[in-house]
Each structure stands twice: as structure tokens, then as C-alpha cells.
């Protein structure tokens, strides 16, 4: 008698576990897959490269980037990522991480910024740019976004970014908002965050730069935005252009108070 009860119990437990297995949604499955990848995120490799590049003497002026002012004074690299984009008085521009690095590479190291901006992603100096952005993002991992909106230019950039986010264009006549302005939307198995409000810790703006497993590439925010325009079949406004930075301000300010997990890992 006792024996049959325990068999019954075991059978009961089995159906229970089968039931909970069936309950697992596709996105939970993807989350598990991501957690598995997290342990060996190849972004670490780019991070190490960026760290070395910071102190390495390079360029026509044979100088390092150690005196680069990323918003918290020359040479400060901890915590700058979560406060960018912001207004810089010396250039008179609102700048994001990558455009500010471009400025430093030109003024300190003597590189031709326009030339680097024209270089395709993943080629030449753009490789170093991404590595630097990856390392700098990692130096602010876990910190909360806190973008300044004190300057008029920063406020203007937010408004411009918002309009660009909703501006429809291209042969498919869609905007960033077509995919990223609604809760619970997805493309195939990819959940699409709603970026018109705070998407939460480590989502959207707080997840780039990220390593993309599917193509083995490290992407910065600029390349991510470029990809949005590519999917929109709309011309890319250009690397470190005001339009891309304005979108960065819009996304960054919306993520106010959310923690950064960059460099993240993506499918």
C-alpha cells in the first residue's frame, strides 16, 4: 500500500514538472540561453583591448588618451558612461561617448576625426573606437544613468531626438517608434523594449555596447543606431552626427535611474 502511494506521488510530481516545462515561454528560454552566454562574454576581450588603448601612445602626435576629458575632468573614466551624452563647452556640442572619443583622438593624438567617422564599422580605427567605448562602458557597469538636462542644448537635443524617434521614413515608411513604442512587442522571438519610457535596468540604451553572438561582432551605440536606420532602409545620418547623438540623449534621458549592464551580450 505504502509502495503504491509513493509511486502515485512520483507520477504526480512528474506531471507537475512536465506541466511547468510546458509553461516556459520562448522568452524565458532565451533568457536562460543568455544567462549561459553571460559567463563567457567575448566583450571581455574588447574590454581588455580598450583598456590597453587608453594608455598606449598612438597617432601622429604619439600621445595616449589619458588626458581625455569625457565629462568628469581630464583622465577620469569611471562613471562617465552613465552621464553621456552631455554638453561640452570646449567643442560647443552635445556629445556621446563615441563622438567625444573622436574629439580626443583628434585633439590629443592628432588623428583625422572626419576620416575615422567615414570609416566603415569594424575597419581601421573604428575597431579601436569600439574597443575603447566597450572598456569605458565596463568601467561604469552597474551604475545608474544620470544624464544632465541643465543646458539648453541638452534640452534641445532631447526634443530633436524625440522627433527623430517618431519620424517615419524610408521605403517601408517606419520609424524607431514602429518597433520600440509599445509594450510586449516582439519580432520573431526577440522582445522589443518600449523606449518611449524607462525600459528598466539593462534594457535598450543601458545594454550597448554589446557583443552580438550571431555575427561575432562588438557593437557600440552608434552602430546599433546605424542598424536601426539600415532596417528602416533610410540613410544613416553619419557616425557621431548630431542626429544620432540626439537619439542617444532621448534614449539616455528616458533611461534615467536605470542601471547599465554594458557591455552586454546579445543573440
Amino acid at each position: 500500500m505504502k509502495h503504491s502511494i509513493s509511486v502515485l506521488l512520483a507520477a504526480g510530481l512528474m506531471t507537475l514538472s512536465l506541466h511547468s516545462l510546458a509553461q516556459k515561454t520562448a522568452s524565458q528560454g532565451i533568457d536562460e540561453y543568455r544567462a549561459m552566454l553571460q559567463d563567457g562574454n567575448p566583450a571581455d576581450l574588447f574590454e581588455a583591448k580598450g583598456e590597453a588603448l587608453w594608455t598606449q601612445k598612438r597617432g601622429p602626435k604619439n600621445a595616449s588618451l589619458e588626458k581625455c576629458d569625457l565629462g568628469k575632468g581630464p583622465g577620469v573614466f569611471k562613471g562617465v558612461f552613465v552621464e553621456l551624452p552631455k554638453y561640452f563647452a570646449d567643442t560647443g556640442r552635445v556629445q556621446d561617448m563615441e563622438s567625444r572619443l573622436l574629439t580626443c583622438m583628434e585633439t590629443l593624438q592628432g588623428f583625422n576625426a572626419a576620416e575615422i567617422a567615414k570609416t566603415a564599422f569594424g575597419r581601421g580605427e573604428q575597431v579601436n573606437m569600439t574597443a575603447l567605448a566597450t572598456w569605458l562602458a565596463a568601467e561604469s557597469k552597474g551604475m545608474k544613468f544620470n544624464l544632465s538636462q541643465a543646458n539648453q542644448a541638452e534640452k534641445t537635443f532631447y526634443e530633436v531626438g524625440k522627433r527623430l524617434f517618431f519620424q517615419r521614413g524610408g521605403p517601408h515608411d517606419f520609424a524607431c517608434a514602429s518597433c520600440h513604442a509599445e509594450d510586449g512587442k516582439r519580432i520573431r522571438l526577440q522582445d522589443l523594449p518600449n523606449l518611449t519610457k524607462n525600459p528598466g535596468d539593462g534594457v535598450g540604451f543601458a545594454a550597448w555596447p554589446a557583443y552580438r553572438v550571431s555575427n561575432g561582432q562588438m557593437w557600440g551605440m552608434q552602430q546599433r543606431l546605424n542598424d536601426c536606420y539600415r532596417q528602416q532602409r533610410f540613410p544613416y545620418p553619419g557616425f557621431a552626427s548630431d542626429a544620432t547623438i540626439a537619439l542617444g540623449v532621448y534614449l539616455g534621458v528616458n533611461s534615467q535611474g536605470s542601471a547599465s549592464i554594458a557591455p552586454a551580450i546579445k543573440r
Binding site: D39, G40, P42, D44, L45, A48
Partner: protein, 103 residues
């Protein structure tokens, strides 16, 4: 010269878990470039690991392994302070060795 590996070695109980990230293109030889030409295969063929100089792992890899590969294995009897060295050699003869101390 190849980029360095990232090796993390952590002791727990009577063994140490070693996690290695290698920086390599791992080109399969199956892909074609924009001009339609086959991109030549370029991948890690041999991976070896030593524990205080004594071989503990030897593997033959094929092009099916991903770009920037991640390798995890356990070494029995490895304690904090021990040295773990990992070496890879690719089909072009390029090689890289990095060492880590078990913590």
C-alpha cells in the same frame, strides 16, 4: 601577433574551474566574401592546457567552433596559487600562450 586570452581560474573544493576566452576569427572556410571568393579557413587546431607545467588537457579543434571561443574545464587537485597555462595553435601556425594563477 594574436590578442591575449582571458583566463579565469577558481578553486573550489578539490578542483579548480578554468574558464578561457580566446580571441580568434575562427573562419570556417565555408564562407564567401563580397566578391564571391571563398574566405580561406583560419581556425584554432590545437588547444593544450598545463597545470604547474604538467599537461592536463589536449584538444583538437575543427572549424565548427565559434568565433572568439569560450572553453571551460575543471582540473582536479588544483589549489589556489597554482599556475594554469593555456596554449592554442591555429592552422596558419600562429600560436598564443597565456597563464593564470588559480585563486
Amino acid at each position: 601577433m594574436a590578442d591575449p586570452m582571458r583566463i579565469r581560474a577558481q578553486a573550489a573544493g578539490d578542483k579548480a574551474t578554468i574558464r578561457v576566452l580566446m580571441s580568434h576569427e575562427m573562419e570556417s572556410g565555408q564562407r564567401k566574401d563580397a566578391a564571391g571568393k571563398t574566405v580561406p579557413a583560419w581556425f584554432i587546431q590545437e588547444v593544450t592546457a598545463t597545470h604547474n607545467g604538467k599537461p592536463v588537457l589536449s584538444a583538437e579543434w575543427v572549424p565548427a567552433v565559434s568565433k572568439n571561443p569560450f572553453l571551460q574545464f575543471a582540473v582536479k587537485g588544483a589549489k589556489a596559487g597554482d599556475k594554469i597555462a593555456v596554449t592554442w595553435k591555429d592552422n596558419k601556425g600562429d600560436t598564443r600562450t597565456d597563464e593564470a594563477t588559480v585563486s
